[in-house]
Amino acid sequence: MTKTIKFRVEDGIAILGIDVPGQSMNVITEQFTNELEECVDKVLADDAITGAVICSEKPAFMAGADLRMLGGLSAMAKTATPGEIFQNSVRLNRILRKMETGGKNAKDLMRSKTKPFVAAINGTALGGGFEIPLACHYRIAADDGSVKMGLPEVMVGLLPGGGGTQRLPRLIGIQAALQFLTTGKNMSAKDGLGFGILKALAPRDELVEKAKELAKANPKAIQPWDEKGFRFPGGGGAMHPGSVQTFMAANAMAQDKTYGNYPAVQYILSSVYEGSIIPMDLAVEVESKYFTRLIVEGQAGNMIRTLFVNKTAAEKGARRPKGFDKMPTKKLGMLGAGLMGAGIAYVSAAAGMDVVLIDRDQASADKGKAYSVKLVEKAVSRRKMSKEEGEALLARITATDDYSKLENADLIIEAVFEDRALKADVTKKALAVTGDDIIFASNTSTLPISSLAEASSNPENFIGIHFFSPVEKMPLVEIITGEKTGDKATAKALDYVQQIKKTPIVVNDSRGFYTSRSFGTYVMEGYAMVAEGINPALIENAGKMLGMPVGPLAVGDEVAIDLSYKIMNQTKKDLGADYQASPGDVVVDTFVEKLERFGRKNGKGMYVYPEDGGKKYLWPGISDHFPRAAEQPTVDEVKTRLLYRQIVECARCFAENVLTTPEDGDLGAIFGWGFAPWTGGPFSHMDFIGLAAFVAEADRLAEAYGERFRVPDQLRDMAQKGASYYPAGIPAAAE
C-alpha cells in the first residue's frame, strides 16, 4: 500500500512528509494514524535522529479527519459499546501525547526533556490537521497568506478529538480558545503568530529548512504544559477566579445560541473546563470521552451528512443530468430589476458574467443596478473587494429597457411581478430577440412552471430557478423542472448555480414547489395556534427553541401577512373545492381584512414595530381577537407541532414526487428556510427517530389537531416495512 507519510532523515532530523494517496487534500485516515505512530516510534527509538519535522507533500497542510472514518465511527455506534468506541477515538490522542512527551512519565520528561517535533504548515491546517501541529513542540507557517488554521468541528456537530480542546486553551488562554472552539472560525498565520501559536513565518520554499534548523537548535524539547508550574495564559484553569466569569458567560451565550440543540457545544465547553483542571494525559482522555458521547448520540452524523457531504455533492453537480458538456453562462439576460432581479444581477456579475438588466423603463432598470452599486460600495469600504474589482463588476451590468441588448445572451432569468400575463409578455419579447434555443428560467415562487412554460415556443428549455431574498446572502437556489423541461435546461441551470457559488436542489413542479410550500406550513401552524388562543410568546419562543432562526409569527410578519393572504386566495380560486382550509386562515383573514396589519411592511402585524426604531414586540391586541385559552400547552407540545407540521409537508412533497431525493429535501429545508440544522434536515430527522415512531406521533397530532398532520401513505408504508429515506438509515458519509 502506498504510504501516507514519506519518511526520510536529513542531517539527523527526520522529515515526515504527509502525502495521503488518492486525495487532493491530506486527511486523517486509519492508515495515516497507524503510520504516524510508526514514524513517531522510529524517531524516538533511533539515537541517530535528534528531532523531527512534520510537513505536507501537498500544496496545503491537512484537513481534518476523513469523513469515511467518521462514517465508520457512526456505523460502529450501532453495534459497539461506548467503551469500544472510546478505544477507537482516543488512539490519535495517545499517539500525539507520545509524540510530545517522548513516551516519558512526567518526572522523567521534566528532567531529561524529549526530541523536538516541529510542524511546517504550508497552507490550510484544519481540524485534525491543526491538532497535529498543536501537539508539536514548535510550529512555523508559510508567510504567503495561504495559511488557514482552525478547529471547525463544531460546525458539523463534532468536537476536536485530537487534543484541540486541551492544547489551544493552554497555548492562548481559555477565553481566546473558546472563541475558536465554539464557533469553528479560522485564524490566519498572522493571527497565529500574534497568539504565539506560531514560532515564526517563513517563505513557503524555505519552510522545511527553517523547521529543521529549529529542531536542531532545540534538541531538548518539552511542551509548556508538561513543565513544572505551568499556568494557563491569562490566569489559571477553570478554577481560577477569572475563569468563573468566562465560563458563566460562555455557557449562557452558548445556550442562548444553541437552545440546547447542539450537544457538541456543551461537550467542547466541558472538555475545556474539566480538562483544564487535570494533567494533560488525563485531559485528552476526557476529551475523547466527550467525543465518544457525540458519536454514540449520533446527531453529528446527520449534520455531517447534510451540511458537509450532501452539500458538497450538490455543489459539485450530484443532480446534474449526464451527457452534457459544461455550459457556463457568459451573458445573462435578467428580466425585471426589482429586488430579486437586482440581486440576481449582482451575484451573476460578481461571478464574472455580463448581465443585461432589463425593466420596463430606463429609470426602473437603473434603480435595479443601483442595488449593485450599493453592495459594491459596502464591499469596498469593508475591504472585501478592491476598488478596481468593484468597478469591473459594475461595468459588467448593463441596465436598459431595450430587449435588443439581449442578443448573444446564453441564459435568461425572468423575475418580473407574479402576474401570468406580464410574465408571458416579457418571455415572448425576450425570446423574439434570442431565439428559443436559449435556456429560459423563471424566478417565480408561486406560479407553476409548467403553466408559465406555455408562453415559450420551446417549453423543453423552460425551467424554474427560484432564488431566496436577499439573493446575495441566501445560500440556496431551488431549480424547478416543469412537465416538459428537458435535461439540458437542468444541466445549464445547475452550471449557472455553480458559477454563482450557491447550493442547488432540483425539484419537480408543484404549487409553492418544495421550499415555499413546506415553509408556509411553519407560519400557518403558528397562526393556527394563535387562533386557538395559545400565548403568542410561547409560540415564538417554541419556534426558536426548536432551532428555527425566528418564530413563525415573526417570520410571517417579514414575509408579509397580506402576501400570505393573496397566495391563500389565489390557491382557493385555483383549487376550488379541493382547497384544504387551515385553522390559521382565519388569522390571516382577520389581520388583513379587519385589522390591516400586514407585517413589518406597514409597521404592524403580529408584532408592533415602533416608529422610533425601538425593538419590536408582540402586539398586545392579539388576544382581543383571539382570546387567550385558559389552558396553555407545554412548550414541548408547541415545538412538536411546529416541527411535525413542516416535516409532514416535506414527506408529502416526497410522496408526490415534488422531491425525488431526500438529499434535496434536507438541503432545501436547512438552506432554504432555515429548518432546524441540528436535525440534518426533515428526512434525516425522520430516519433518525425512526419512521414508525414519527408516524405514530404524527397520527397523535392528527387526532388532536387535524388532518394536516396526517402522513402520506408512502411514508406509512415505509414505516411499516421498517424502511428509511436514506439507505441503511446511517449517514452516507462514505463518499
Binding site: 477553570a238 478554577m239 477566579p241 475563569s243 468563573v244 465560563f247 458563566m248 458567560a249 460562555a250 455557557n251 449562557a252 451565550m253 452558548a254 445556550q255 442562548d256 445560541k257 437552545y259 440546547g260 456543551q266 465547553l269 466541558s270 473546563y273 474539566e274 400565548n535 403568542p536 410568546a537 410561547l538 415564538e540 419562543n541 417554541a542 427553541m545 414586540y617 408582540l618 396553555q632 412548550v635
Partner: protein, 402 residues
C-alpha cells in the same frame, strides 16, 4: 421529644462590605469570636455546657476556611470540649445552623448549642469558593443557570411587579429600619465590634440610606439588564419560561440586599440546661423546614418552605403574627406576600437587608434574633423567619414567644 428554646441571640452591626467599610479591617475570625464572647459574657455562660457551635458561612475559603466555628470557639476561650462545624445553605446558612442546632436538642443528642454565622464579604468576596453550578458547562447548561439578579427580575416579570412596585418596597424598608434604630429596637442584640486595641469601630448598621426616595432610586439603572442581554442570561431564563417575551429588569443596588460584613450567634438548648444554669428561655422553636424549588427563578422557595413548616407545625398563615423574609431582592418579598396573602404591616416590620445588608452566612441567625426581640417588644406570639436561597431552595423557621 425534647423542646428547643432560644435563650439568647446577639449580632454585630453590619458594616459596608467594601474597602471603606468600617468592618473591613476586622478579620472574619474576629467577628465570629466577638459574638461568641458576647453571648458567653452576657449570659455568664459555662461554656463547658455547650456541645457544639454550628456556624453558617457561604464562602468558607481563605480566612473563612478550615472550620471557622471551631477555631472561633477556641479563640473565644470556650471550653476545649466545644466542637464546631460550618454549614453552607447559601443565604439561609445562619438559619439552617439554628435549625440543625434545634434538631440536635430536640433529638436529645445535645443540651446546649450555639448556632450562628459569619461572613466578611469585604474580605472574602462572594463566589470565592467557586462551585460547579455557575461554571461547569455539564451542569450550568442543562439546569438553566442564571445569576440571582436575573432570577429576581424574572420574578418581577412573572408576578407582575413594576419598577415602581419594587422601588416603593425598598423605600419602606429604609424607613422601617431607620424607625427601628431610632426606637432602639435592635439594642438588645447588638454587640459593637471592637478592633485590636479594643476600640469600638462600629455600633450601628452602616449600610442604611434613610434619605432614599422614589426619585433617587428612579435614577439608578437596572443592574442586570446589560448582563442579561449581552451574556445570554435572558435567553437562558426564557428558555425555562418560554411564556414570556422578555425579562422586565427592575432590580438595582437600591432595591436589592446590600453587601455587608457581620456575624451573629443564637443560644439554643433544652429546658433543663436553662434551669440548671439559671437562664430563661426567650422563644421556642416550633417547626422548621427546608425545600428545593425551580432553580432558574431560584428565589420563590420561601413560600414553599413556609408552607411546609406551617404544615409541620399544624398552623396556617393566619396563626403567624410576624413574618420575616430576607430582603434579597424586593420582588422576592412582594411575591411571597402575594403567594401567602401576607399583609405588609406584618412583614419585615423593622426593615431588612435592602436597608441594612445581607452578610450571607450570618443573616439567617441575625433575623431570627430580630424576631425574638420583636416578639418580646410587641408582645406578639408567633413569628416565621425565612430566606430565599441559591439554586431554588428555601428555609423557614417558626418560633413562638415563651
Amino acid at each position: 421529644m425534647a423542646e428547643a428554646f432560644i435563650y439568647d441571640a446577639v449580632r454585630t452591626p453590619r458594616g459596608k462590605g467594601r474597602k471603606d467599610g468600617k468592618l473591613h479591617e476586622i478579620t472574619p475570625i474576629s467577628l465570629a469570636t466577638q459574638v461568641l464572647e458576647g453571648l458567653r459574657d452576657r449570659n455568664e455562660l459555662d461554656t463547658g455546657l455547650v456541645d457544639d457551635v454550628i456556624f453558617g458561612c457561604v464562602s468558607p475559603v481563605g480566612e473563612q476556611g478550615a472550620c471557622i466555628p471551631r477555631v472561633a470557639a477556641m479563640n473565644a476561650g470556650y471550653a476545649e470540649t466545644v466542637a464546631g462545624v460550618q454549614v453552607n445553605r447559601f443565604c439561609a446558612s445562619g438559619l439552617e445552623a439554628s435549625n440543625m442546632a434545634a434538631a440536635q436538642v430536640m433529638a436529645g443528642q445535645a443540651d446546649l448549642m450555639v448556632a450562628g454565622g459569619v461572613e466578611a464579604m469585604s474580605r472574602v468576596p462572594m463566589g470565592s469558593d467557586g462551585g460547579a453550578w455557575a461554571t461547569d458547562p455539564a451542569v450550568a447548561m442543562p439546569t438553566h443557570f442564571v445569576p440571582q439578579g436575573i432570577s429576581a427580575d424574572l420574578i418581577a416579570t412573572k408576578y407582575g411587579f413594576s419598577r415602581d412596585d419594587v422601588d416603593a418596597y425598598a423605600i419602606e424598608s429604609q424607613k422601617r429600619a431607620k424607625a427601628a434604630w431610632d426606637d432602639k429596637r435592635f439594642a438588645k442584640s447588638i454587640l459593637p465590634v471592637k478592633d485590636v486595641i479594643g476600640e469600638v469601630v462600629l455600633d450601628h448598621d452602616e449600610h442604611m440610606r434613610p434619605e432614599t426616595d422614589m426619585q433617587s432610586l428612579g435614577a439608578l439603572k437596572p443592574s442586570f439588564a446589560e448582563m442579561g442581554a449581552n451574556y445570554g442570561f435572558n435567553s437562558v431564563a426564557l428558555q425555562r419560561y418560554p411564556e414570556f417575551e422578555k425579562i422586565n429588569h427592575v432590580h438595582h443596588a437600591g432595591n436589592s440586599s446590600g453587601i455587608v460584613d457581620g456575624s451573629a450567634a443564637v443560644l439554643i438548648g433544652n429546658r433543663e440546661v436553662g434551669e440548671r444554669s439559671g437562664m430563661k428561655p426567650r422563644a421556642r422553636i416550633r417547626a422548621y423546614a427546608s425545600i428545593g424549588s425551580e432553580p432558574t427563578i431560584m428565589l420563590t422557595g420561601p413560600s414553599f418552605a413556609a408552607e411546609k413548616a406551617l404544615k409541620r407545625a399544624g398552623m396556617t398563615p393566619n396563626d403567624i403574627d410576624l413574618w420575616e423574609l430576607n430582603e434579597a431582592f424586593a420582588a422576592v418579598v412582594l411575591r411571597f406576600m402575594q403567594a401567602l396573602d401576607v399583609d405588609h404591616s406584618k412583614m419585615n416590620v423593622n426593615g431588612g437587608a435592602i436597608a441594612m445588608g445581607h452578610p450571607l452566612g450570618a443573616t439567617g441567625a441575625m433575623i431570627l434574633g430580630t424576631m425574638v426581640d420583636e416578639l418580646e417588644r410587641s408582645g406578639k406570639e408567633t413569628a416565621l423567619v425565612t430566606l430565599c436561597i441559591g439554586a431554588g431552595m428555601g428555609t423557614a423557621t417558626i418560633i413562638e414567644r415563651v
